[in-house]
Amino acid sequence: MTIDRDLAKGLSLLAIALFFGLQARFYPLGTLGRAGPGMFPLVISALLFLVGFAIVVRTRIIKGDGLAFKAKNIALVAAGLLSFVLLSEHLNMLVGLVVMVLMTSYAASDFKLSRALALGAVLASVALAMRLGLGVQLPLY
């Protein structure tokens, strides 16, 4: 089953417009002459909603291409980044860094464990050098 890319695009834009527009209602609107913090976001969200709506309508006239989405690589990269932050926060950055390298390397088509480990070691020493040599404040250990 293929998803129409333009339809997905329009719907995502509508979702973003609603996300901001619905929140903007809770901020004081003010008057046009003395606009409150809610006014401008509401105007922009409304415009975005219109544009998104136009894109959705356009798909009724012209069929868009199918949506090709590869979830694996972006998921691996995102998971690697998240584990980097979590491990740096709770353990230390050296562990986080090695885990991130291992996880994200797996996304490459020519993954080799030995190479990933070696790379982790190299980057760890780079990080150490940055901390000790350049004085960059990294919570390494």
Partner: protein, 516 residues
């Protein structure tokens, strides 16, 4: 000769040992990082931005500018040798890569380098003579004019970068909304922070740009099959005299086209390259060879690229409105370093302005005398397999994000925008207008509110002011023309949009038909 005395004043600033070092460092690091596959100028600048935080202001600006044109040259190199373009070097992929296939990599690299120098020199003169008078004009601009200019910028960027006005505008608007996140400057209200303290000061610029341009691009490259380079490491840099003679006219044509197009809203290197290439295809003595690895095909676009990169500083520094995404990023970088670009910048900080202008030319010289001969050693970057390269880039993205505020939470934001940027790519939405919207959003809001305050809530103020009325008229015309022509074109042929919004490899036939 006002310009001459100003320029010599600038050179006296740029030629101090520290500033020379910053300039050389910026060019060199920029070229190196720009070489890396998956990192265009936007990602390169955002990755290296934290480096400049601890520098003195003039040094920081000089280094940033160096990073920018270094990245641009590095991009050209990766396009010529690997056919791996980013938005800034699409044209270099055509003839440059053909030259590599013919074993003339060195000649192509030299041509690109020397043409950039010619383009940069001419554009520096244009910059020095145009920016001060323009800033005098810009001093007359009020809030309505600024609103109108921002809207014009949005429209032109949408037009240029994506081809589809609706897609581009939607990205600008999303960017504006993202730019609103944080504390409202007028009232102190927290907006759209979702209770996250790390968002109280707004979304970190580095997080947004590294996410959308660094992480998303890397993942995009991972999705492709690995590319290998036909480049085999043999480089003969110096051209023969006959070859050299062919570079000059084409580079001059490119410089003219680039200087002009760099000035216009939405303009900049990308569109300048296409224009220069088209001009060469029409007027060059060797036009029949273009597309099959002709020197002209490299020289013209490289000169235009560099010239437009320089002159696009003019609207930023004299009006305070960046005209494309890279300039928006530069503007943010200026502000982070404590300088607000705008009509008062030249008057308030003449040393900074003229020093920067002079250093641009010096940076150009560095590119030719340092980077062009050294490029053969740097090409060893390509011998590193991508599977080792990209985790390293990710690591530096993390460290770069972290070091801005010493905050790990900012890396969450980076990761979030990485995923979002990737989704946008898959939806064929270009994140470059988003960047522009993000930077210009707060400016638009501030001026909009001020204009409405002054007019007591009447929208007519935008039309009653002649300059803003005129600009808005142009905006309306472009928009209407786009809508109509878009509808007509779509009626005529039911053609789907191309798969990739940016960084698309133009195949040789499309390049040949571009002329129209």
């Amino acid at each position: 000769m006002d310009i001459l005395s100003n320029l010599s004043f600038g050179f006296s600033h740029a030629l101090t040992l520290n500033n020379l070092l910053f300039c050389a460092a910026g060019c060199t690091i920029g070229t190196l990082v720009g070489l890396l596959p998956g990192l265009g100028p936007l990602a390169t600048i955002s990755l290296l931005l934290p480096l400049t935080y601890s520098l003195p202001t003039d040094g920081a600006l000089i280094m940033l500018a160096g990073i920018y044109y270094g990245a641009q040259y590095g991009d050209n190199v990766s396009a010529i040798t690997m056919r791996m373009p980013h938005a800034s070097s699409i044209i270099a992929c055509i003839d440059g890569y053909e030259m590599t296939l013919k074993g003339k990599t060195g000649l192509a690299l030299f041509t690109a380098g020397i043409s950039s120098f010619i383009g940069g020199t001419i554009a520096t003169i244009v910059l020095a003579s145009l920016a001060p008078p323009l800033s005098q004009v810009a001093l007359m601009f009020g809030p309505t004019e600024y609103c109108a200019l921002v809207l014009l910028g949005f429209l032109c960027v949408s037009l240029v970068t994506t081809g589809s006005v609706l897609d581009g505008l939607s990205m600008c608007l999303v960017g504006v909304l993202l730019g609103l996140v944080g504390t409202d400057v007028n009232t102190g209200t927290l907006r759209f922070t979702m209770g996250l303290p790390s968002l109280y000061d707004g979304i970190a610029l580095v997080s947004l740009s590294l996410g959308c341009f660094g992480i998303a691009e890397i993942t995009k490259n991972l999705d492709k099959d690995q590319q290998t380079s036909p480049f085999r490491g043999k480089i003969k840099l110096m051209p023969s005299w006959t070859e050299f003679k062919r570079i000059i006219p084409s580079a001059l044509r490119g410089s003219a086209a680039g200087s002009l197009l760099g000035l216009l809203p939405g303009g900049g290197p990308v569109i300048a390259q296409f224009a220069a290439y088209a001009v060469d295809k029409k007027f060059s003595k060797y036009r029949d060879e273009i597309g099959q690895g002709a020197i002209e095909g490299v020289a013209g676009q490289a000169a235009a690229d560099e010239a437009a990169a320089r002159t696009s500083f003019i609207p930023l520094m004299s009006i305070g409105i960046p005209e494309n995404a890279v300039m928006a990023l530069m503007m943010a970088a200026f502000i982070i370093n404590g300088i607000k670009p705008g009509p008062t910048m030249i008057a308030d900080h003449p040393d900074l302005f003229w020093g920067l202008v002079a250093s641009m030319w010096i940076g150009n010289l560095f590119l030719v005398v340092l980077n062009v001969p050294l490029v053969r050693y740097w090409l060893t970057v390509f011998k590193i397999p991508y599977s080792a390269l990209f985790p390293s880039i990710l690591f530096f993205c993390c460290v770069g994000t972290y070091s801005v505020n010493n905050s790990l939470d900012d890396i969450y934001t980076t990761a979030f925008f990485g995923v979002l940027g990737y989704i946008f790519f898959r939806l064929s939405l270009d994140p470059a207008p988003l960047m522009l919207g993000f930077i210009l959003g707060p400016i638009l809001e501030e001026n909009f509110r001020r204009a409405m305050l002054l007019s007591h809530g009447s929208f007519a103020t935008f039309i009653e002011h002649p300059i803003s009325g005129g600009i808005l008229g142009i905006v309306a015309l472009i928009f209407a023309w786009q809508m109509v022509s878009g509808l007509l074109a779509r009626r005529r042929q039911d053609k789907g949009p191309s798969d990739e919004p940016r960084g698309k490899l133009p195949s040789a036939p499309t390049a040949k038909t571009y002329q129209a």
